[in-house]
């Protein structure tokens, strides 16, 4: 434990932080419960919910069968019935089994009913590659979900957000999906002992800079920050923006940055075609075209199903080195 300007700081991990957020929400609001595959007795596929069943009991930590469609729909029903469920889906690839419920029910009920029935549901799921899990466990599809009108999509990258986004999502009257990149679960860091709810509608500048704006989210944030450190050694100051929320997108934060840097690169672990990076690039073109000194660049995953061997997986994903090369090219292009 340390103090930082009077605030007590605790050494923790992303995994422990998510667990603390779930635990606090359940203790704070009797309507909140967590359900999903192996969240209880197993302790969570990624160990996130370890110990919670023992502490909170099976009504609060509900193990489900392998029925993503069924239990996600049950979560929607429970939300309609006055509960505040947190549905955990093991990975985004598995969430496709529940896509019908997410798109056709969770996202539509408020609108189809003319405003009568809102769905205060929170879904958490793992997304992204980096652990050699190949082509059915490691895709990055939050951009797909961000396409859907009627839901909100958040992507906590830093500990503060892993701790604070859940409560805000639970207080939201509409469905919110929280995407957690499992490569972050072991990430250590300092978090204020009294860390609490954070907003889920604004992007954040994680590193200030004047030469280029790197727009990213989730685990790619740390690749972008690494790249920024390298670039700084060469005299290029990158401003790194953590989107935090993919729907609704906070345009102001990156547009303000671009007005200063006049260069923008989007780093997105999703496939390039039809990705969230494409959306952001289009918005920059629509709203900041005349601010740009060079065309917007995008660094995305290579368009292949995720391969198993480490060297190919690394080659398929955006990397700090690629970000450095791209930014240098952009900066030197216009001298």
């Amino acid at each position: 434990m340390r103090t930082n300007g009077g605030t007590q700081m605790l050494e923790t991990t992303y995994r422990e932080t998510v667990r603390a957020a779930i635990r606090e929400a359940i203790l704070k609001d009797s309507r909140v419960f967590l359900m999903g595959e192996d969240v209880g007795r197993y302790g969570g596929a990624f160990g996130v919910t370890k110990g919670l069943l023992e502490e909170l009991g099976p009504e609060k930590i509900l193990d489900t069968p392998l029925s993503e469609l069924g239990f996600t729909g049950a979560g929607i029903g429970a939300a309609l019935g006055g509960m505040r469920p947190i549905v955990e889906i093991m990975t985004v690839n598995f969430s496709l089994l529940a896509a019908d419920q997410i798109l056709n029910n969770a996202a539509t009920y408020l609108h189809m009913s003319g405003g009568l029935f809102n769905v205060p549901l929170v879904i958490r799921m793992a997304t992204g590659a980096g652990r050699q899990l190949a082509a059915q466990h490691a895709h990055c599809l939050e951009g797909w979900y961000a396409h859907i009108a009627g839901i909100k999509v958040v992507t906590p990258a830093v500990l503060e957000d892993a701790r604070g986004m859940l409560w805000t999502a639970l207080e939201d009257p509409d469905p919110v999906i929280i995407f957690e990149n499992p490569t972050l679960y072991n990430m250590k860091g300092q978090l204020a002992a009294d860390a609490g709810a954070v907003d889920i509608h604004k992007a954040r500048v994680r590193r200030a800079g004047s030469d280029v704006t790197i727009i990213t989210y989730s685990a790619s944030l740390f690749k972008a920050l690494d790249a920024a450190t390298t670039l700084a050694q060469e005299g290029i100051e990158a401003e790194v923006i953590d989107l935090r929320t993919l729907r609704p997108l906070d345009d102001d934060t990156y547009l303000t940055s671009i007005a200063k840097t006049h260069r923008a690169v989007v780093v997105d672990e999703g496939w390039r075609s039809g990705s969230i990076s494409a959306e952001i690039s289009a918005r920059i073109m629509e709203k900041a075209f005349y601010e740009l000194d060079v065309p917007v660049e995008r660094i995305c995953s290579v368009e292949v199903p995720m391969p198993y061997p480490r060297h190919l997986e690394e080659a398929a994903l955006p990397q700090a080195t690629t970000i450095v090369q791209t930014v240098k090219r952009m900066v030197h292009h216009d001298g």
């Binding site: 309507r31 419960f33 009504e59 489900t64 069968p65 029925s67 469609l69 069924g70 239990f71 996600t72 729909g73 049950a74 979560g75 929607i76 029903g77 429970a78 939300a79 309609l80 019935g81 006055g82 509960m83 469920p85 019908d100 419920q101 056709n104 029910n105 009920y109 408020l110 609108h111 189809m112 009913s113 003319g114 405003g115 009568l116 029935f117 809102n118 009108a149 009627g150 909100k152 939201d172 009257p173 509409d174 509608h201 609704p248």
Partner: protein
Amino acid sequence: MTTKTARRRAVLDIDRDHALHLLHEMLRIRRFEEKCAELYTALKIRGFVHLYDGEEACAVGVMQALEPGDAVVATYRDHGQALARGVPMNRIMAEMYGKQEGCSRGRGGSMHLFDAKTRFYGGNAIVACGLPLAVGLALADKRLGRRQVTCCFHGDGAVAEGAFHETMNLAVLWQVPALFVCENNLYAMGTALRYSHAETNLAKKAAVYGLPAEVVDGMDVLAVEAAAQKAVAAIRAGKGPYFLELRTYRFRAHSMFDAELYRSKEEVEEWKKRDPITTFARYLQEHEVIGPADVEELEHRVAAEVDEAVAFAEAGTWEPVEDLTRFVYSEGVRA
């Protein structure tokens, strides 16, 4: 199946007012549907419209067992379910027109009728997608200590969906207070039961999940009512979920776009001999529970109600286009 003797006894014991109520409710649906068909041809109603003619005994019989606080999850053939549940006819008709006075503010149309007062949770147009919701709604009632029942309608087509099987498993596993009502009208759109199901006894399929599952004559309103009362009493007594397969038949095409190439006119005519309204009216008259004047009086009342509903819908207003993006997210909250 209720035996003939049992049915006769039930009819002879029936209270005259209750008999008239059942007949009235079925007639309301039949005449409403006839008016919808007419208005569809007159281009007043558009989109997909699925009429309930022939199946009236199902909704009317089941609703007798429900209390005001119970929840109903309906199918896309939902006019009869909504009317029998007590959603006002004029607001349903306005919904058919797409007017903002409609029960779903005109946003849903024929397939998406909603009503908060009667806890009518749609109008679900993805086959079987309402089933998991029913588990969640019932789970919420159970958790929040409310002695309510969730009644979920679905068709024979839904039994072929994975969602049905996931739902049965979850409902029994969690012992939720839900009644699953399968309106088996022998066709999933145009595909006959025998081409859809390896096992055509649908109650048998439900029964393997460990819940009571009964086959009921869905053309006999008294048989349906008796079965529903028994099922709901068991559910309210905390005995877990219940499944009823109502064997019924729709007299009209699947939707207004259906040329009915998949079944013979003879088959339809044969089923029409078992019309739930005419057979019930005849039966009551044969046993002198009611007389011809009673039927005539009911017809007058129903005709007046239908006329009034049409007038209400005609007088309804279009939602301003400026309101288009309302109800995507809850109002008064930052999107």
